[in-house]
């Protein structure tokens, strides 16, 4: 629903901008118009525009009003486009936090390296042929495997 409204508002703003463009083109034509034939033809540089400065300013002021209206509508459309994003942003932030939690978990896999170390300690203990040395590494290994 708000999508339709946003599109409508944007379209209205577009048409106001287009009207301002048309007005501006007309204004420029009026300013740049050559004086009518028969009048003395001064150089283009020094020719004063046929329209009075006050009239030109008034026309431009109207153009500015149209553009400001259009920009107010663009802002309204933007506000509508961004409405209700708060929930989505929160959702994405939560997912990001969960991902970071998972990263920590995966990093715990580094424990596996330690696990292998303990496995090797056990192997080394076995290889020395001294059974009493087996107990400590064995217990550590057992704990590690259970914690995975």
């Amino acid at each position: 629903m708000s999508h339709t409204t946003q599109v409508d508002i944007e379209a209205l703003a577009d048409s106001l901008s287009a009207s301002a463009d048309a007005l501006h083109a007309r204004l420029l034509r009026a300013i740049r118009q050559r004086p009518a034939a028969g009048q003395p033809a001064p150089t283009a540089q020094s020719a004063p525009p046929p329209i009075s400065q006050a009239a030109a300013q008034a026309l431009f002021e109207n153009e500015v009003i149209l553009r400001q209206r259009a920009n107010a509508l663009y802002l309204e459309a933007a506000t509508l486009a961004a409405a209700g994003l708060g929930g989505l942003q929160q959702q994405l932030l939560d997912l990001t936090a969960q991902a970071q939690e998972k990263i920590r978990k995966i990093d715990r896999i580094k424990d596996l390296v330690a696990l292998t170390g303990e496995l090797l300690s056990l192997a080394a203990a076995v290889a020395t042929g001294a059974p009493e040395r087996l107990i400590a590494p064995y217990e550590k290994l057992k704990q590690r495997v259970e914690s995975l």
């Binding site: 901008s17 300013i31 431009f60 400001q68 802002l75 994003l85 989505l88 991902a99 292998t116 090797l120």
Partner: protein, 264 residues
């Protein structure tokens, strides 16, 4: 005794291999994770959106010198609502960038992190000089450890990355969509700003007297050139921001579309 030792070593290797087979599944390399990382590395490209949002917020300051008193009063009112509304627009890309960075970290290559701890293990083993374990054994074991760590982390990583992509699909798509709309609206608004600024100069310069106002004509024409260049540059930035956003949108969609079917 020697035969007992070699027997134990064999047994140990067999144990490790069995564990590997049990835990590992397939230890495939993961081009998909590389793809995800490449996608995530593009996160800074969203800064263009951020910059243009900031520029949008500064619209009044740029127009102000060119506005007649009535227009200035109207623009001030508009500016107040623009400041208020666009405060929210600024946060959108932060959230999306944070997501992309987390995704990239999740798909990260941790092999290098492991290397150091593996070395430590290797030297630790040498603390048992009478065990009969030699360097070549240690090397073989550390090699196995590396494979083991990779074998286990890789599928976990892949699952976590896929899950994140799946869960984030909807919010990311909508946020990127909103960013695209906002960029378009900034752009249109910027067009009007440009036409107000340049239009004022265009309207006023022809009324200057070439004899009396030479300096003023020179300054305003020079300002006009500068302003035209500035707005042309902003136009290019808008195009770039839109292109970047579309590329990110498209690559995210590709990653989501190529998800394996959900588990459970």
């Amino acid at each position: 005794m020697t035969s007992l030792r070699s027997c134990l070593h064999l047994l140990l290797i067999a144990c490790l291999l069995a564990m590997l087979a049990m835990l590992g599944g397939c230890a495939s390399s993961t081009p998909r994770m590389a793809e995800v990382r490449a996608f995530a590395a593009d996160a800074p490209k969203l800064n263009a959106y951020h910059d243009l949002t900031e520029r949008y917020r500064g619209s009044y300051q740029r127009q102000q010198p060119f506005l007649a008193p009535d227009a200035d009063a109207r623009e001030r009112v508009l500016d107040a609502s623009r400041q208020q509304a666009s405060a929210d627009f600024r946060r959108i890309d932060d959230v999306v960038q944070a997501y992309m960075q987390a995704l990239g970290a999740l798909a990260g290559d941790r092999q290098y992190d492991l290397r150091d701890s593996i070395k430590v293990v290797g030297t630790g083993i040498k603390a048992w000089p009478d065990s009969g374990l030699e360097d070549r054994h240690v090397n073989a074991f550390t090699g196995l450890t590396r494979v083991l760590a990779r074998t286990i982390t890789a599928p976990m990583q892949e699952r976590a990355v896929n899950q994140l992509l799946r869960d984030a699909r909807e919010p990311v798509q909508q946020l990127l969509d909103a960013m695209r709309k906002l960029l378009r609206l900034y752009d249109r608004s910027n067009d009007n700003e440009q036409k107000i600024v340049l239009g004022m100069l265009e309207t006023e310069i022809p009324f200057l007297d070439p004899g009396r106002d030479r300096l003023l004509i020179a300054l305003s024409k020079s300002l006009e050139q500068e302003k035209k260049a500035e707005y042309r540059l902003i136009g290019l930035r808008h195009t770039l921001a839109r292109t970047n956003l579309e590329a990110i949108e498209q690559r995210h969609r590709q990653l989501v579309d190529s998800l394996p079917p959900a588990q459970q």
